[in-house]
């Protein structure tokens, strides 16, 4: 047996637990949900095959359109905000000097907050009449909006809330920034490059791999936004909530159909619809990455 053969066998053995887990806990349920998407199934009676009816209904469902629009709108606001703020904070952290360890910890701590607790806290902070956020804006002469009750401000309010966990992206950028060789900045300065041009032509290409990764991961996470929005607008206060449609995200609609109306077949079709949307967006991102993302040692 050659060394490479032993290595590949060892590699396969190391992969085996993941492969078994993937087949049993991911691929299996996915195939089952694909089958369910072609049926009517309320969990109490056996599934009844209906062909593509669920997919046809999803295309005609007003709430699917609303939910998809809300989700895409939230993603378009959330991902750039998260990246810009994380990058800014990472830049500050890099200059923190001896206290950087402390500030890194402080920045990352909010990520540990349970999502439901976060939602409950932000319901108070974002209250349009006496919330702390509007009180803060009031110090500068601004009258803040009704973040939690005005449909036009609900998604921006949720984006503000989502920035609470910006620390997870910021620490990735901090790691990436420290890997950009200082000689490149020195060379750029010698060539008379302004700070903006240094950022544009040295920093961004140097961390483009990390930016690409966070764009893809944050986009996928945003398209699946659920917990905080559900806790704020569809949980115990759902009966009294009139903001539902403005915060009706795709996965919330899917959840309501699956577990509220027990329409597992229809919900499965919705899940595959979201899978298709995410797949298309990710493919576009991968294509664009070939043009804009640079890796160390990349000869292309």
């Amino acid at each position: 047996m050659t060394v490479s053969g032993r290595e590949s066998r060892a590699g396969l053995l190391f992969l085996l637990p993941w492969v078994v887990g993937f087949l049993a806990f991911t691929a299996g349920p996915m195939l089952f949900s694909l089958w369910l998407s072609l049926t009517h199934y309320d969990m109490l009676k056996p599934p009844a095959f209906v062909g593509l009816e669920n997919y046809r209904e999803a295309l005609a469902d007003d709430r699917v359109g609303t939910a998809l629009w809300n989700t895409v709108f939230f993603t378009a606001l959330h991902v750039p905000s998260q990246i810009v703020l994380a990058l800014g904070l990472a830049g500050l952290l890099r200059r923190a000097g001896r206290g950087s360890g402390f500030f890194r910890t402080v920045l990352y701590l909010p990520v540990m907050t349970p999502p439901v607790a976060l939602a409950a806290m932000f319901l108070l902070l974002l209250n349009g009449q006496n919330g702390a956020v509007n009180a803060f804006l009031g110090w500068f002469g601004f009258q803040g909006p009704n973040w939690t009750t005005d449909p036009a401000w609900i998604k921006p309010g949720l984006v503000v809330m989502s920035l609470w966990t910006v620390g997870s992206t910021a620490v990735l950028y901090l790691a990436a920034l420290t890997r950009v060789p200082l000689e490149r900045y020195e060379a750029a300065r010698l060539d008379g490059a302004s700070p903006w041009r240094q950022f544009r032509h040295v920093t961004l290409p140097g961390i483009s791999g990390t930016v690409y990764f966070t764009v893809v991961v944050n986009t996928i996470a945003s398209l699946q936004v659920f917990t905080e929005a559900y806790a704020m607008f569809f949980g115990a206060r759902a009966k009294a909530s009139a903001e539902g449609d403005a915060a009706l995200f795709y996965v919330i609609h899917l959840f309501q159909e699956a577990f509220g109306s027990l329409r597992m077949g229809y919900a499965s079709a919705l899940a595959w619809g979201l899978f298709a949307v995410i797949a298309v967006i990710t493919v576009v991102q991968v294509r664009l990455s070939r043009r804009y993302v640079h890796y160390e040692g990349d000869r292309s």
């Binding site: 009676k45 009704n146 009750t149 109306s261």
Partner: protein, 438 residues
């Protein structure tokens, strides 16, 4: 080494004994409930009555509000609790889906006199002629008016009426305080979308039942009337944000702080108000329809036995005991005594069992001179037998979601009332078609 082996055996045994299944799998001999808690003597004293009469039963109260998804998933997985405690209006849907069992045999075997239960409550748990649940508490909806605020506006609290829809807007304007995009006081809160069935009925329309349509012009008019009231008091965004700041269950509630002038409310709030702010100066009056007739909606919970329950006979004994007249009186007495120890009044217990209520308010009721209870309890009691209730529907959850969603769209200015209710009707028809009911 031997000790290590023994520890390992004990550890594995403990894990096996603990099991890892669902609600009932690890307690095959236990009687398991879902959706019920033990917050006060109303619950603990009645459970004690059952335990005393059934010492051999291992009763497990799985505390917390009913999680509908958890419940239905447990039934679907063949691992349901033995009893479920649910909102009455949802039981029709559970019955139609086969998630709960008929209680006809249970009622017959235990000689339960269904005539003792209030008609509206019993109707809600009856589906296609069979009883699927035994009703528990029963609340009605009535008006609670903040006297100082109304008098300060030059109005008579006793004359405040929900009959004159044309004049209500002007009254709300006088009572509300709105300025610079901020609401400082709500004049009249119509409590929509939750109270839409009451407003629709006040205009002569039903939301559920044969011939009922959500796009009925009378329903549309009720939606327009109530949403207009909100719109003229600052608009929904400010109105709701302000309402969210109420300390509804505290001593600084909206009546004490003057944040609210009037609203229709569930009768259980009388006890909350009397306990937290006994000196609040309020008028309690019936809600009236457009003809000036007294109108109220009944709501509450019921006990039911899920399909596939492991111990239906014991579960039957439990729900019969929990809703029995004497059990209620025992619980009411325990509640009164506990409140008396804290120096608080007891405002009675509103149940769906007419005989229990008669005894409780004759033998146990102890308002201790509290003016809110002295005035409010007779009003609530007088309304109990006049109440209507939403009839059972196999698509109850979907119907409620359809009309509440429609009112919400109007409140936020997305749609006009007619358009919103037409959409709600289409959604309701689709839901009813799916479940094959009406």
């Amino acid at each position: 080494m031997r000790g290590l082996r023994l520890t390992a055996v004990l550890g594995v045994s403990a894990l096996l004994a603990a099991g890892c299944g669902g609600l009932g799998s690890d307690h095959s001999d236990a009687l398991v409930t879902m959706g019920f808690g033990l917050p006060d003597e109303h619950a603990t004293a009645r459970v004690a009555v059952f335990r005393e009469a059934n010492p051999g039963v291992d009763l497990r109260i799985s505390e917390g509000a009913l999680d509908e998804q958890q419940f239905l998933s447990a039934v679907a997985a063949g691992d349901p609790p033995d009893l479920v405690y649910a909102e009455r209006r949802k039981l029709g849907g559970y019955a139609a889906r086969g998630a709960v069992q008929s209680l006809d045999a249970c009622v017959r075997e235990h000689g339960v006199d269904l005539g003792l239960f209030r008609e509206a409550a019993l109707r809600q748990v009856t589906y296609r002629g069979e009883v699927y649940g035994l009703p528990e508490f029963s609340s009605v909806r009535l008006m609670i008016v903040n006297n100082p605020v109304v008098r300060a506006a030059g109005l008579d609290p006793a004359a405040l009426s929900t009959s004159d829809w044309a004049g209500m807007g002007e009254v709300a304007d006088r009572l509300a305080r709105v300025g610079g995009g901020r609401v400082e006081r709500i004049g009249f809160d119509p409590k929509v979308p939750e109270f839409l069935p009451l407003w629709a009925k006040a205009n002569g329309a039903e939301l559920i039942g044969p011939g009922a349509r959500l796009d009925d012009p009378r329903v549309v008019e009720a939606v327009r009337h109530t949403t207009d009231l909100v719109a003229r008091q600052g608009g929904w965004a400010s109105f709701k944000a302000f309402r969210d700041t109420f300390d509804q269950f505290g001593a600084n509630n909206q009546y004490v702080t003057g944040q609210l002038a009037a609203m229709p409310m569930d009768s259980w709030y009388l006890n909350t108000l009397a306990t937290n702010s006994p000196d609040a100066d309020v008028t309690i009056a019936p809600f009236t329809d457009r003809n000036g007739q007294v109108l109220t909606e009944s709501g509450g919970q019921a006990w039911a036995i899920p399909k596939g329950a492991r111990h239906p006979e014991v579960a039957c004994r439990f729900l019969v005991t929990m809703t029995d007249t004497q059990t209620w009186v025992t619980a009411a007495t325990a509640r009164r005594d506990a409140l008396a120890e804290a120096g608080r009044p007891y405002g009675g217990t509103f149940t769906a069992n007419r005989a229990a209520d008669e005894r409780i308010f004759r033998e146990v009721f102890a308002p201790l001179g509290n003016p809110i209870l002295a005035e409010g309890v007779p009003v609530a009691l007088s309304l109990q037998d006049q109440a209507f209730a939403l009839p059972p529907s196999p698509a109850a959850s979907e119907l409620v979601r359809a009309w509440e969603g429609a009112v919400n769209r109007v409140l936020v200015g997305q749609q006009e009332p007619g358009e919103a209710m037409a959409q709600a009707q289409r959604e309701a028809e689709r839901a009813l078609k799916r479940v094959g009911g009406r």
